[in-house]
Amino acid sequence: MKKLVLAAALSALAAGTAVADPIRMGTEGAYPPYNFINDAGEVDGFERELGDEICKRAELECTWVTNDWDSIIPNLVSGNYDTIIAGMSVTPERDEVIDFSNEYYPPSPSAFVGAAGMDVDLSGAIIAAQTNTIQAGHVSEMGATLVEFATPDETVAAVRNGEADAVLADKDYLAPIVAESNGMLEFIGEDVAIGGGIGIGLRESDTELKATLNKAIDSMKADGTLNTMLAKWFEGDAPQW
């Protein structure tokens, strides 16, 4: 965190004025139940509750900002906000560019969903995925025909209208959609494990902030608050620490 890096320099100039600056929390706001804009127009979801609790424990003042998914990392490294807390899986590629805090969500599977009653052979099927996601990469590697859409909504719509045979996405995202589809959609095939768990993204130079956040996350894991939150937001099948 440049603020903390600089805090040392500043304190030499004006000792005692180092008031904690607010931490800007960057999220996408379009990925329920992780993060979404609720009907009051505010950031809500599992990560909102988690982030606020972390800030409380770390005694930081936090403000929330939303940013488009495609440019969420460039805007972090250029300093428009200080953390990414947006359901971002830890991958080796991302880890080269930014740092991640300890994981607050264990590795979770992705799953295929297709129209109910269709016997789909996944290896030769047309599979929809969101552009620039790890799922899109997985489909193109497994050899099926990949169709990419700009938003997750459209990938599900493509299965409903028959453009695609199946959609591959995070299981947590698909589960409520399947549950509320009145039997139109169903999970098919095996779940696939791609991507690691989810951590808070940070600039590599912000080592002090990383340590602060890790301490807060670890204490939430230790006293069980994190598990309670997971159970609240992800209903029955939530992974636990």
Binding site: D70, S71, I73, P74, V77, E93, R94, V97, I98, A128, T131, N132, G137, S140, E141, T145, L146, V147, E148, F149, A150, E154, A158, N161, G162, E163
Partner: protein, 279 residues
């Protein structure tokens, strides 16, 4: 990977030839330049087809609006109003929603020597569906420009044509059409450029990309995502676009010279440094 290897793997990746998987790690500058360039083929294809067909349709629309009977003028006005009045991505959205609802049937087109089976499901693919939308869009914008030009043709030109006894198609071909083009040309060249640039929206927020075969911006954003650095791929695609735009500008400039060749040149004012300093 050397540049030659990148070229053989990715030069025609956007149309389905070459390496199936896109570069994932160790992405070189060559990979980026070649793959984005490969995608630009789509942009050029969309633009050329839409502009060629759009030019003809726009001319017809403009004449229908200025000289046509009411039953042609009103639909033409409405068409121009709707397509000029709404953002392109909304047109893409509604077109796509409409095309996926169409029944999936094959249409037999007899060509004399063979029968071509056209499928309505082609419309949900970008190569046809997006081209149709871009064609309608540019027709509307160009028709508006041509209409304005038709209305600004100096009355003297028309009267002179009448005085020469020209009428009908001859007057149109020799006087009205060239004058309309001359007046419309600067704005029309803008429109051609805008249309070319709009082709970047096709896969960005319009049609899905199949098998990772898509346009330049799709690959540029793929690289921006894979390398987490927007300052390399986007300037690359910007340079490609500048290059092709300069080609368009050059072509339109040549046509403009031809259209204006009879116009009197303004007296050239020579710049003299001294005169500016003393004034």
């Amino acid at each position: 990977m050397s540049c030659a290897e990148s070229f053989s793997s990715y030069a025609f990746r956007s149309i389905g030839f070459g390496e199936r998987l896109l570069p994932k790690s160790d992405i070189t500058l060559c990979d980026q330049i070649i793959l984005i360039g490969s995608g630009m083929m789509w942009n050029v294809y969309f633009a050329v087809v839409a502009i060629l067909f759009g030019f003809v349709f726009a001319t017809m629309l403009a004449f229908a609006r200025v000289n046509g009977p009411a039953y042609l003028r009103l639909p033409a006005d409405f068409f121009v109003f709707v397509f000029r009045g709404s953002p392109l991505f909304i047109q893409f959205f509604f077109a796509y929603e409409l095309f996926v609802q169409l029944p999936r049937v094959g249409v037999e087109i007899p060509l004399g020597f063979a029968t071509l089976t056209a499928s309505t499901s082609w419309l949900t693919k970008a190569w046809l569906g997006a081209t149709v939308v871009l064609f309608l869009n540019t027709s509307a914008y160009s028709a508006e420009i041509f209409t304005g030009a038709l209305k600004s043709i100096p009355r003297g030109d028309i009267e002179a044509a009448d005085a020469f006894g020209m009428a009908g198609f001859k007057k149109f071909r020799r006087i009205v059409f060239p004058t309309m083009l001359r007046l419309a040309w600067p704005s029309y060249s803008n429109e051609a450029i805008f249309l070319f640039h709009s082709t970047a929206l096709v896969f960005f927020s319009g049609f899905p990309a199949w098998r990772r075969e898509a346009d330049g911006l799709y690959y540029a954003s793929y690289f921006a995502e894979a390398t987490f650095n927007p300052f390399v791929p986007y300037p690359i695609i910007a340079v490609y676009f500048v290059f092709f735009t300069l080609l368009i500008v050059g072509f339109f400039g040549l046509v403009s010279k031809r259209l204006n060749r009879h116009m009197a040149e303004a007296p050239k004012v020579k710049f003299r440094l001294g005169s500016m300093l003393t004034r």
